[in-house]
């Protein structure tokens, strides 16, 4: 069962992966120190498929793409937050890490609850309580990048077709 890990507001990219580890670029290596500053045991506890549920301004601060790389390396399947910092949001999509905005989800979860995220429908389900929360569905062109597994895979697939993803909806 996928578990929810609940965090507060303003989780910075320094919280997600500290500057002293940025000499690493291997997601698995980065994952060993993911969220260390806020929860030192996190890397050992988290399991593949788990989901982070957080408050406002998740991923604020530095533009380091090591942050979504570390989360992905740790097996995090998605981040659901009240809001995201701009650069992290784009980096996450580019790394193929689903990010969903849900105004209510955080209040409806405690760490350890079961969680299921439906990206297509923009829905977050607490499988422990049965409560369902709305999330903002991602625009089509961002979903296309996620489905490809990130911007690089998307670009590889698009090679010879068109340079960059088509933009349809505002984000």
């Amino acid at each position: 069962m996928a578990k929810a890990w609940v965090f507060g507001d303003n989780i910075s990219t320094d919280d997600i992966i500290a500057g002293r580890y940025l000499v690493q670029r291997n997601p698995k290596e980065l994952a060993k120190h993911v969220m260390e500053a806020v929860d030192p045991g996190f890397a050992a506890k988290v399991r593949a498929g788990d989901v982070i549920v957080a408050g406002k301004n998740f991923g604020c601060g530095s533009s380091r793409e090591h942050a979504p790389m570390a989360l992905k390396g740790a097996g995090i399947a998605a981040v659901v937050a009240e809001s995201f910092a701009r650069i992290f949001f784009r980096n996450a999509i580019n790394q193929g890490l689903p990010v969903l905005i849900s105004k209510e989800a955080r209040r409806g979860f405690k760490t350890g609850d079961g969680i299921r995220v439906d990206l297509e429908r923009g829905e977050v389900l607490n499988t422990s309580t049965g409560r369902k929360f709305d999330a903002e569905p991602l625009p089509d062109f961002l979903m296309e990048i996620l489905r490809a597994g990130g911007l690089l895979n998307y670009l590889k697939r698009m090679k010879g077709k068109r340079g960059l993803p088509r933009k349809k909806t505002a984000v």
Partner: protein
């Protein structure tokens, strides 16, 4: 249709007559910058998608600043990789270890110009907005798309206006102004927005002060922070500008989602308390907290005028026993000027340690990493838990004068009280 400066720059860069907030445009960038932390991921990404050459080597700038000189074998390896990448691509604008912090190096070398669209794989790229351009931080993979095509998609941001009136009093600085603004707006209060500074108070704020203000735009979540170009800007750019430029200005009837006013003459020294940049109080309310380290430097406040302010406080005196004061000039140019003007001599005589031009202690990747339970006062821009070292350490952010006054007393001190 009336437009703000941010909208006009994005319209020009995307080849449109007009754009409006919320629209997604594909824009051609004028300058693209990577550093030694973010650059290696960009280079690796380009290799993965099979792109052999950057779209225009003259528009690419590489700066080795975060772990410079290298602090580990791994950091050294990243530097070697970037040097090879620059050579392979014929990138002349390569600033190796010791040249300084990217956000000081680009303006000094005339890359930050009015009306331009600049992207950098570093969140503090918004600093260049001090020159009337639209500059924003992006991730490494987005940068790979830029290096490959010269273009990137942008969501046109809403603009908010910050009016600055009056005159700063002695020992109160643009850093105090921007800390006050971040405290009022909040860490996510300007998310996705472009901040535009205006008002008669700006004409008395130097290029360096404006860079400090725009630098911290991202601490409110802003996509860009802009000071429209004026005589102060043009004077700085004379003899530096890399190529011809065309300043743009907001239409008088352009629309803003928010407006706020700041009176410089009422401002007093401010401090951001651990562990959030928007937890801001007047320095006097926090005075007396014991410190272990004082850091003067970074892209926020490592310029000559910042070192001069600190030297004024410390001249002929000694910093408190048990306090380490670290100084890192933001660039070689700053370093040399500070040497010529004997500013560094005054600081070293007072007990400071001077390091090489780099990001230094700001992100804990270099000199001056703080230990458990230690307290640091810093002229940089972020005090997040663990950023400058141990997660059990505390970081306060203040102006160069506040950093110097606190080093002098060994405890947090309002610079007007020494």
């Amino acid at each position: 249709m009336p437009m703000t400066i941010a909208e006009k720059i994005l319209a020009r860069a995307s080849g449109r007559r007009s754009v409006s907030p919320g629209e997604i445009v594909e824009a051609r960038v004028d300058v693209a910058m990577i550093n030694d932390i973010t650059g290696p991921i960009t280079v690796e990404a380009l290799e993965k998608i099979g792109v052999k050459k950057v779209w225009d080597p003259s528009r690419v700038v590489i700066v080795l600043d975060h772990q410079a000189p290298p602090t580990s074998i791994e950091a050294s390896r990243e530097h070697i990789g970037l040097r090879r990448f620059a050579a392979r691509n014929g990138i002349q604008n390569f600033f190796d270890v010791g040249e300084g912090v990217c956000h000081e190096v680009l303006p000094e070398n005339g890359f930050a110009l009015p009306g331009e669209l600049i992207v950098g794989a570093d969140s503090h790229t918004c600093t260049y907005g001090a020159f009337g351009c639209f500059a924003t931080g992006i991730g490494s993979t987005d940068m790979a798309a830029v290096f490959a095509t010269g273009k990137l998609w942008f969501r046109v941001p809403e603009s908010m206006l910050i009016k600055v009136e009056g005159m700063l009093r002695s020992r109160v600085s643009p850093k105090d102004l921007i800390l006050k603004i971040v405290g009022d707006v909040g860490a996510d209060g300007a998310t996705y927005r472009a901040i535009e500074f205006t008002g008669s108070g700006l004409s008395r704020i130097s290029v360096g002060g404006r860079m400090t203000m725009c630098n911290m735009g991202v601490e409110m979540g802003a996509k860009a922070a802009i000071v429209p170009a004026d005589e102060v800007t043009f004077r700085y750019l004379k003899g530096r500008a890399k190529w011809a430029y065309q300043p743009v200005y907001s239409d008088s009837d352009a629309s803003y989602v928010d407006e706020m006013k700041c009176d410089l003459s009422k401002l007093e020294p401010q401090l951001a308390l651990p562990h959030n940049v928007d937890k801001v109080r007047p320095v006097r309310e926090v005075a007396g907290v014991k410190i272990d380290q004082a850091f003067l430097g970074s892209c926020t406040n490592g310029r000559l005028e910042d070192l001069v302010e600190a030297a004024k406080v410390l001249e002929g005196k000694k910093i408190a026993p048990g306090v380490r004061m670290l100084v890192a000039p933001a660039s070689r140019e700053v370093y040399l000027e500070a040497l010529r003007k004997k500013v560094l001599q005054k600081l070293v005589e007072a007990g400071a340690i001077v390091g090489s031009p780099s990001c230094a202690a700001c992100m804990g990747g270099h000199i001056g990493i703080i230990g458990p339970g230690e307290v640091c006062i810093s002229s940089s821009n972020r005090n997040f838990r663990g950023r400058m070292g141990s997660p059990e350490a505390k970081v306060y952010l203040g102006s160069p004068a506040t950093v110097a006054a606190s080093a002098l007393r060994g405890e947090i001190t309002d610079p007007r009280d020494v």
